[in-house]
């Protein structure tokens, strides 16, 4: 029984063609010694039966993967009577590379030029006759998915089985390499090989590891190849290059495709948004507009709804509990603790949702990749790796994945710097803190203040990165370039889904971690028994009173502010939750804001915002740093140094502001 092998690139329609040829007469197994799937089937044609073997999809016949080795071994050792090379007509450059390697092997091959309908729809016009003539290989146009051209293909394959003539000329790899191929062939003469000598010579010069291993037993060839070691890369590139030149010439004379627009709309937009001078200002304006819209839509239009719901929930729950004669301690826990604490955070959900909506749009359009690119120049100027900014962008959502994404930095120096500066990126959990204070003191300029806070985080991160690259981690950063995705209209569904995922995650955290923190702090607030809950005499108040002097130079040396910052190390959302609790009864957004207006001055509020932006990251981030660095030392460093930076920053703002009479 004659055997016909099918070979082609992944997604070239090879398996569809196999199914069209064999119908239900097929079985699946494994190639010996490997886990690569082997598919065989039978084709009945003109009263004869042919064995059809579907080889693994592969781009080349090197030794880069198991699939490639299986395919080339079968073509050479399995002795198929004819090989059908399935070529995707819409991606002919890539697919013909495999064809050139089949030609090098001296394989009896015919081409099934598949997906002709798709090529036509893309206005790719292929002169089949010329293509066949240039390659010296029969080319049969097919549409395997519609079973078109299959009969002609089978007819040609069957005819070709009995033909001995190979019409194609060998590819020339240039004078030097052709001579080397010739020399190696002479050295191989007489030795019994399972592969053709010409192919072995090409593969040896190309640095094919499997072929080189097999040649180790041939002293003469081995010595000759060792003498060429200096030229290994040059020869490897030259051989592959010659194949592409060969393909390029064939495509040039037999394929006519629509002229590619050299400057797309994406290119035109990128000329402006990634401009050396305009890129960063445009990025700043876009972020500012996003923050401003967040306030206009999230606070002015939507903010009142959730606030009203929390207020009604508190009133309703309080009424029910009083009706049921609930003990005072439980009433205090549920109303002041849970509703006051968790509610103080949840009330900002509309703003968070709107911010994530805008960030989602920026990401979905492809702009965020441009933001990373425009910052790349600045990062390099500061001695930082451009990829650092990508981990910083991820850190805007949460510093935990931000730190994890530094894994893409291969260089330890780059990675450690990116990891250490990531917590200065303002994560979503800090957002409610900013909102409370902005609403209390800077409601008319919310967008500007928020923009400045985020900007300050980026600046501090870059400055610290520069300091680290000059002190702790010296050395050169590695170079990389980005491929920017084309701009596209954002998918409303995708943006909404992403926004919802993040809001839901925020609500889950409010319902779990914040609830636990609130419960623990509530316990501290009612002991010793008999004291006024949430008073300075409670255990919570006493802890806060001990910490408070540290923050006095920063203008917020109250026990309430100190306790809230302390709780923020467990989870940043807890800062607002604790403020909601300790300013007793300030469960609803408006009441909390009023309490804060009385407890802070505008200058102290700015100082507090600087502190919360920069100080010790939350426990989840510290745990991640421990996991990623496997070092308690770096984890402690990560806990301590941002605290010092935050404290110095807050004190600086407050003291300078005081001197200036702010």
């Amino acid at each position: 029984m004659n055997t016909i092998a099918l070979v082609g690139n992944p997604n070239s329609g090879k398996t569809t063609l196999f199914n069209a040829l064999t119908g239900s007469n097929q079985h699946v197994g494994n190639w010996p010694g490997v886990t690569v799937e082997k598919k065989e089937g039978q084709l009945k044609f003109n009263g004869n039966i042919y064995n059809i073997v579907d080889l693994p999809g592969t781009y080349s016949l090197g030794a880069y993967s198991e699939d490639e080795v299986v395919a080339r071994d079968f073509i050479i050792k399995g002795n198929p009577d004819v090989v059908i090379n399935v070529v995707d007509a819409t991606n002919i450059e890539r697919n013909l590379y495999l064809t050139t390697q089949l030609m090098e092997m001296g394989t009896k091959v015919i081409i099934a030029l598949n997906m002709m309908d798709e090529a036509k729809s893309k206005n790719i016009d292929i002169d089949i006759e010329k293509l066949s003539q240039n390659l010296g290989i029969p080319v049969i146009p097919t549409i395997a998915a519609k079973k078109k051209g299959i009969d002609s293909l089978i007819q040609k394959a069957v005819e070709f089985i009995n033909e001995d003539i190979y019409n194609y000329d060998p590819i020339s790899y240039g004078e030097n390499i052709d001579k080397e191929i010739h020399d190696i062939r002479i050295l191989l003469k007489g030795s019994s090989r399972e592969y053709p000598n010409n192919w072995i010579a090409i593969k040896a010069l190309e640095g094919d590891k499997e072929v080189l291993n097999k040649l180790k037993s041939n002293e003469l060839v081995n010595q000759h190849l060792i003498s060429l070691a200096d030229k290994a890369s040059e020869y490897e590139l030259e051989i592959v290059d010659r194949r592409y030149n060969f393909i390029g010439n064939i495509i040039h004379s037999s394929v006519n495709r629509p002229t590619e627009s050299r400057e797309t709309l994406t290119d035109k937009i990128d000329k402006i948004v990634t401009n050396k001078y305009l890129g960063i200002p445009i990025f700043a304006i876009i972020m500012f507009v996003s923050f401003q819209l967040t306030f206009v839509i999230g606070s002015d239009l939507l903010g009142g709804y959730v606030e009203g719901w929390i207020e009604n929930l508190g009133g309703w729950l309080s009424g029910i509990l009083l009706t049921l004669n609930t003990p005072d301690w439980l009433l205090s826990f549920l109303i002041d603790g849970v509703v006051g604490g968790v509610g103080a955070v949840v009330v900002f959900v509309p703003l968070i949702a709107v911010l994530y909506f805008f960030l989602g749009i920026l990401e979905d359009t492809g702009y965020m990749a441009r933001a990373a690119y425009v910052m790349d120049g600045l990062m390099r100027a500061l001695g930082l790796h451009g990829k650092t900014f990508i981990s910083m962008i991820v850190g805007f959502g949460c510093n935990v994945p931000g730190i994890m994404s530094t894994r893409t930095l291969e260089n330890k120096k780059d990675r450690m710097i990116a990891l250490l500066i990531n917590p200065f990126m303002s994560c979503g959990a800090r957002f409610p803190i900013y909102l409370v204070f902005i609403s209390a003191f800077f409601a008319d300029n919310g967008g500007i203040v928020l923009f400045l806070i985020y900007g300050l985080g980026i600046i501090v991160a870059l400055v610290m990165g520069k300091i680290f690259s000059k002190t702790l981690f010296k050395g050169e950063s590695s170079h990389f370039i980005m491929e920017l995705p084309p701009y596209r209209l954002p998918s409303f569904r995708s943006v909404i889904r992403d926004m919802w995922d993040k809001v839901w995650d925020f609500l889950q955290r409010a319902g779990t971690i914040i609830f636990i923190v609130v419960t623990l702090l509530w316990i501290l607030s009612i002991f010793p028994l008999g004291v006024e809950p949430y008073s300075q005499e409670s255990l919570l108040g006493k802890i806060g009173t001990i910490i408070a002097p540290i923050f006095a130079p920063a203008g917020f040396g109250t026990w309430q502010a100190s306790v809230s910052l302390f709780a923020g190390i467990a989870a940043k959302e807890a800062v607002v939750a604790v403020l909601g609790m300790v300013y007793g009864g300030a469960s609803e957004g408006r009441e909390l804001i009023s309490a804060i207006q009385q407890a802070f001055t505008p200058l102290a509020a700015i100082s507090f915002l600087v502190m919360t932006l920069l100080y010790t990251p939350c426990a989840a981030v510290l745990a991640t740093v421990k996991k990623e660095t496997n070092s308690i030392g770096w984890t402690v460093f990560m806990a301590v140094y941002p605290f010092i930076i935050g404290w110095v920053g807050a004190v600086f703002v407050y003291q300078v502001g005081s001197i200036l009479g702010l």
Partner: protein
């Protein structure tokens, strides 16, 4: 062609198929194929920015975060040796 594409990538800040194609007078699809070939041969390496966010990571607070769609290409040591 391969070495020229490698040189162009080395001298660029953005991997732009259209601009490389224009400079080398080859089609964008050929640039794409040559770059992929350089990756397969180990002269270039690529990563997609944030592999850690492709699945749920233990300990990640926002396990559903998006992968940032930024493909990054670096020239490997093997590639650098060719450019020397």
């Amino acid at each position: 062609m391969l070495k020229n594409v490698l040189k162009e990538i080395n001298e660029s800040k953005i991997f732009s198929k259209s601009s490389i194609g224009k400079n080398l007078n080859i089609s964008e699809s050929m640039v794409n194929e040559l770059a992929n070939q350089l990756i397969r041969m180990g002269y270039l390496s690529e990563d997609l920015g944030s592999p850690t966010c492709q699945g749920k990571c233990s300990g990640c607070a926002i396990s559903n975060c998006k992968t940032i769609p930024i493909k990054m290409i670096s020239i490997t040591e093997k590639g650098k040796r060719v450019l020397e």
